[in-house]
Symmetry: none
Subunit: 126 residues, 2 copies
DNA sequence: TACACCTTTTACAAAACTTTTACAAGACCC
DNA sequence: GGGTCTTGTAAAAGTTTTGTAAAAGGTGTA
C-alpha cells in the first residue's frame, strides 16, 4: 500500500487462470510459481498487460520501458520478448502475439470452450 | 516502529520451526541456540522480519537501520547481510532472499510439503 | 594504554542482468 | 520464386549490482 491511493479504480493486479501479476509488488507467477522476472522483463510484461487486447507498438514499448526516443535501432526489445516467452513456457503462444511491423499484443488466457463431459445422459448404448 | 508502540497488536516475537526472535529483549536464537547477534545485525534482521514476505528496499534498510539518507554509496549493508547469513548457517538460503537491484526479503521457514500418504480411499481395485 | 569487540571501508571477485552482434527464419510484396 | 524488410535466436560483450575477505576505523573498558 503506497501512501496515497492515486486511483481507486486502478487495478492492483492482473489475474487469469494461469498468470498472476501483482503491480504493487512487481511480481508475477505462473500456475502459482514465481516467474522470477528481471526488472526489464517485468516492465515489459506489465506494460503489455496494462493494454490487454490492444497492440502496443514497438515505438511505445521502447519509449516507455527503455526511454528510447524514436529512430534507435536495437534488438533489445526482441531479446526481452524472447526471454519473457521462454519464462511463460507453454503459454507464451497464448499470451504474447507478434503484430508484424507494428508491435506486440497481450491476450488473456481464455479457458478453451469446454467440451462438456457432463454425465453422458445421452450416451449411446448405455 | 519507534519508541512508541503504535499498535497494541504488535507482535512481541517472531517464531517458526527454527528461528525465534524476541523483539522485546532483542535476542534471537536458532534451533534453541542463542544466535549472538550484534546490535546492527539484530536491527537488520528485525526489520526484515517485521516485513516477512515483503521486499524491503536497500534504501529503506539503509535509512531505518543506519539513518543514511539516500544517495550514499556503501557496502556496509551487504557486509551485514553476509554476517547475518553466516550466523543463520544452513538456513540462510531459506530465510534471506536477495531481490536484485531492489533489496532483500525475509521468508519464513516452511515445512516441506508433506507428501501425504493418506489412506488411499480411492485406490482402484481395493 | 592495551585489549576486545563491533562497524565501516576498500578492493576485488562473482553473479545477475542488459545490450549488441551476427545470422537464421519468417512475412510481405512484386 | 526472388527481393526486401522484420522478427527470432544464440552467443558474446558490456554494464551494474552483490558477495566476500581483509584492513582500517571506532568505542568502550579494564
Amino acid at each position: 500500500m503506497g501512501p496515497i491511493s492515486i486511483s481507486p479504480t486502478h487495478e492492483q493486479r492482473y489475474r487469469d487462470q494461469h498468470l498472476d501479476l501483482d503491480f504493487e509488488h512487481k511480481t508475477a507467477s505462473l500456475d502459482a510459481r514465481p516467474l522470477g522476472l528481471t526488472r526489464k522483463e517485468y516492465d515489459l510484461l506489465a506494460l503489455l498487460i496494462q493494454n490487454v487486447g490492444d497492440v502496443v507498438t514497438r515505438e511505445a514499448l521502447l519509449l516507455r520501458v527503455w526511454g528510447y526516443s524514436n529512430q534507435i535501432r536495437t534488438r533489445t526489445l526482441d531479446v526481452h520478448i524472447r526471454r519473457l516467452r521462454k519464462k511463460l513456457g507453454a503459454y507464451s503462444g497464448v499470451y504474447i502475439e507478434t503484430i508484424f511491423s507494428v508491435g506486440y499484443r497481450f491476450q488473456p488466457f481464455r479457458a478453451p470452450k469446454n467440451v462438456q463431459h457432463l454425465p453422458s445422459v445421452m450416451a449411446i448404448g448405455a
